[in-house]
Symmetry: C2
């Protein structure tokens, strides 16, 4: 009998032979220069040989054990950076992302430091940023409270200015006002950026950000007036001490308010920020980066699921009498599940680049006063990044789960690493703004702009994300053959019309969150599709571009079938055209099939990063599953410890 | 400032005051007689005061710790049954379901014992069933292998009959043939029902079931020729030792084959079973029961999410200038997320009763030869239970996740108990048949029956699940007003037509798994909707029936909007009718709103069962969250153990 375990390795090699493009070319597009790729490989090799940093035994640990080990990892990480003199920000981020799990210093890196950088004035930055950068202080970001998350305006923590001592007095006036959720707050951070409602001379000055010392720099004991702790286990971030904090008359100096935008003068006078949105600009940054992470996590899981599908033999070809089993990747449903997710991963890479570029362009402009045009770009970015975050975290969360199910039982096993990847990701569906809050913000901006158009500078067309408002919504799709449907302008236009119709429906159904959601998602989908398309046509390599274009078409058709009702509003698509969409989608699947493995190889993920027994590059999945099981602590003995005490008495008694 | 924590309690009380039906009446429909409800309360109270059985600290434990504690719980459970002389099967099941997690004896209860009961002949049953029932032996059910899950025909384990010794010789001939996944196999079971491909005189006799001793009855050591272990951590079932097993020339007596249907005589002669499907009848039983469990788990999570939504104040009413926050349940999107899931939970309860009744009717008939009509019922049950399992596990898995997200960050926290409920449930999406395999089986039966109709006995109309084949598929929806759309016959007919059109599309697109899936789901949805409707109209209490009927309408409209493209095939629904569907759905939400809390109260779940800080009956969720966090083991000290070793050096050095 042939060993399926060996057949598996041959199968995946065969899959690679059918690719019509060069994988390294694709990796260049995704990862960048060869020099950077070489540096990554070098750094990764160092991490892989490090006994602590390479640890991947998190699946065997509970929350407390994971936190404790992650602290050890954080220590090893800082030593590692020093030892190898790694000072470049991209290199540090790369190393950090090789660690397999977030560390207790995660929020320090991703939110605390950036907030100091973007929200402090020059003098404050000069003092605090080096301390934070050199980890002389470790910080968190405390906005969410037990009773309030997405509605920042509802937070209850108070900051009252005492102009006599030139201090702010901070309080948690209610049970629900305690800060709740901030990563690193529970046990690790000794400083925090705290959001509180500011009162000056009895006057409400809105929610502002303050830097608050939490723990004694020597003993690490909580400072007087503070109750601090960990909020307990969660689906993901088990290695992080998400925490709570209660403040009782905690006093901080005036200059501990972050004063880049809003300011409080010594006499208690308030200086307004140029825009109310600026205090939340860290959240825009995080939403922009979440588009990137969403695409990345989806690409991890699709790589695992697609490779496993290529080696997993199960059942027989439909209609065939053959008794030779086929890889599940040959099933139409498996392709229909996975290929659109591969497409969405690439689309997300391109969309994240576009939105990041807009952010990067805008950031330096925030120091000075903004003109109407710049404010429009800021509004567009704030709105669209909200919509894209809502769209992508939802779709990626759902997509990961579909990919997991497509792996059958092995996707349920920690050995596949899909559970871990999902658990670490899906918090993103709710943190930094729940779906409902984001789509409301997004659509509110769209509606405002619809009612009050702004002239966009011709030099900045690529930054204009609201251009769909200029098309004619009263049209129907004119294509007369199935082939015409696949043309880029036809597909792009269908999404623009759908978005604009949805926006008009939101106008007609004023106050309906349902129609607002559709308007937000319609626009986000249209922007995503456009960014994806622009990314594809910019690829210089012909064979790669051709495959990516097929993937783009597949993606567009897939999204139409998922929301066919919306594309058939007013019969924009006819019943016949709708059947063409469905058939064109299914017809693309076998065309993409020969490139499926090459496309996931093209993400450039290493086996070490994937950490998946079933997603291995070489297809040797079954031996890997057996090897993983051998590590299970329960297998250290043949007879479990509890046998004599618990199991033997059951067998000896009557159930 | 008013304490939101207190406002929360008032809010949920106010919600209860707006109900238009009596909750106890609803609980009677769901749970049955008052006597049974009283007995449940009595048993639950006993469990709640038991120090081990009431334990809910699983969130703090890793897989090994959870298994070890679950063994202790299993021991306590058997003692508890004896101590309180609980012998009734329903009572035992009820107590077991109060334990908060599956135990290592889960498969012994749910699959091993039922398989012996249904697959053994009378003599075998007389000997083995009492042993299993009294837990003198603890068993598992080993069908899945490392290399084969859903395609049972592909399994590689061999059983060769040796007529000299009258024994079967069992082997795992390849690396991928090792049994993999069976619950309880790793460390607990000392017997197993093993599926292996039987060879008699060199002739393949298909996959058969055998009872195999695994461990020494005294020492619990694996018997010679067996390698046994635990497969490691998973998303759920962390308290269960899902295991693997390798067989090397393991010999068992001839009478260890389960011989109710197929038999092997001492001379090696093979007696065929009356139907090939009978050997898998345990799987039909499990699929039928999964419909029940899917509805139950969905009702747990919707109860938690709906109650939390009633007390969670966040943001302001759309269009309102008020600064008083509203409960998130007042948002249209929240209603649109949760109310259809409440509806699906009730629908699942009714659907599960219908399908269970068919199973119960059929089971005793299996002893004798089956006539054409009975075979047709068996086929319908096998097919429809497959489709319903595929539909419901998918929808409930997805629905739980949507409900979780609707709770914002708190749904991500273990304190909500939603993570635990999801993790324990979603294995059901892939075990006992993946979606793709089930829909293929389902549609194959539908197609066979379409091509070869069977006359259904008029006495058995309620068992005829395939009656949709008799309608005319060439019709379009004739309603002329939005109101007409809400009529039961209009909605039921729409689903039947959609199902039949999908089945015909599967005929046209022969071999397309995509169209087969649609045909399967179309039929499963239609059956579900009919069972739900039949359940609603059978309710005798007028006010309750009226609310349930609204819920049923909501459910039907919701499913249409989700698959609007399919209902618009050939313009069965026009563009105008499609907008009516959407608007009618949204219009029902505020009508159901006053009954939302009463409807989830109507499931009759106790706080102990829900085990959720945010799903409490009394709405006192914030104090409960704080109390939970206090239990986190990391909070036993203010400064973590690793501070001096790992954290202090980070702060003293340069990151």
């Amino acid at each position: 009998m042939p060993e399926l375990a060996d057949v598996a390795k041959e199968l995946i090699a065969q899959e690679r032979a059918t690719a019509t493009f060069a994988v390294p070319t694709c990796i260049d597009v995704v990862l960048g220069s060869k020099a950077w790729q070489a540096r990554r490989a070098e750094l990764r090799a160092l991490v892989m040989e490090h006994p602590v940093l390479s640890d991947r035994d998190m699946m065997y640990r509970n929350h407390k054990e994971r936190y404790e080990f992650a602290l050890r990892k954080a220590h090893a990480y800082t030593q590692f950076l020093q030892q190898h003199n790694i000072t470049d920000a991209d290199e540090r981020t790369f190393v950090y992302e090789q660690l397999g799990e977030p560390l207790p210093i995660d929020v320090h890196r991703s939110m605390f430091l950036p907030t100091l950088e973007t929200q402090m004035d020059e003098e404050q930055r000069a003092y605090w940023v080096p301390l934070a950068r050199e980890a002389k202080i470790l910080g968190g970001y405390a906005q969410t409270e037990l009773g309030h998350g997405s509605n920042v305006q509802g937070i209850e923590t108070t900051a009252v200015y005492d102009s006599v001592t030139e201090e702010f007095v901070l309080n948690s006036p209610t049970l629900t006002s305690r800060k709740w959720w901030p990563g690193g707050l529970g046990k690790t951070a000794n400083y925090i950026v705290l959001h509180a409602r500011l009162t000056l001379d009895g006057k409400d000055r809105g929610v502002q950000a303050f830097l608050v010392p939490l723990r004694d720099p020597t003993t690490h004991q909580p400072l007087p007036g503070l109750e601090i702790g960990d909020i307990g286990p969660k689906i993901g971030f088990q290695s992080v001490d998400n925490g709570y904090c209660v403040l009782h008359n905690v006093r901080i100096p005036r200059r501990h308010m972050l004063m880049r935008f809003a300011k409080v003068l010594p006499n208690g006078e308030f200086v307004k920020p140029p825009s109310d949105k600026l205090v939340y600009f860290t959240m825009v940054k995080v939403r922009v980066s979440l588009v990137h992470y969403a695409a990345k996590y989806l690409s991890f899981v699709t790589t695992i699921a697609t490779r496993f599908s290529a080696v997993r033999l199960q059942g027989y070809a439909p209609g065939s009498k053959s008794k030779v089993e086929v890889p599940v990747l040959s099933y139409e449903n498996q392709q229909h599940t996975l290929f659109p997710l591969i497409a969405m991963s690439y689309g997300g890479i391109f969309a994240s680049r576009r939105i990041q570029a807009i952010y990067d362009t805008l950031l330096p402009q925030l120091s000075g006063p903004l003109d109407a045009h710049q404010l429009d770009v800021l509004n567009q970015l704030h709105a669209t990044s909200s919509g894209l975050k809502a769209l992508l975290t939802t779709e990626v969360g759902d997509g990961m789960e579909r990919a997991r199910r497509a792996c059958g039982g092995h996707g349920f096993s920690a050995s596949s690493n899909i559970p871990h990847l999902m658990q670490e990701f899906i918090g993103a569906c709710t943190f930094e703004g729940t779906f409902d809050v984001l789509v409301q913000q997004h659509t509110a901006s769209l509606l405002k702009r619809l009612h009050k158009p702004v002239n966009v500078r011709t030099s900045d067309q690529s930054m204009d994300l609201f251009s769909f408002m200029n098309i004619d919504p009263h049209q129907s799709c004119a294509v007369a053959t199935p082939e015409q449907l696949l043309a880029p302008d036809v597909l792009l236009r269908a999404f623009q019309v759908r978005a604009l119709k949805a926006l008009h429906a939101a106008v007609r159904h004023e106050g309906s969150l349902h129609y607002q959601s559709r308007a937000s998602m319609g626009h986000a989908e249209s922007v995503f599709l456009q960014c994806f398309f622009d990314g594809v046509i910019a690829i210089t390599d012909g064979p790669l571009r051709a495959v990516m274009f097929q993937l783009w078409q597949l993606y567009a058709l897939w999204r139409i079938t998922l929301h066919l009702g919306e594309f058939r509003v007013d019969d924009y698509l006819s019943a016949t055209q709708a059947t063409w969409v469905q058939e064109a989608l299914l017809a693309l699947l076998p065309q993409i099939r020969p490139n499926a493995i090459a496309l996931v190889d093209g993400f450039g993920h290493s086996d070490f990063e994937l950490n998946s027994a079933i997603g291995r590059y070489d297809g040797d999945v079954y031996r890997a599953l057996i090897a993983r099981a051998a590590n299970e602590p329960l297998n250290r003995t043949d007879v479990v410890d509890g046998y004599h005490k618990y199991l033997q008495p059951i067998l000896a008694s009557k159930l």
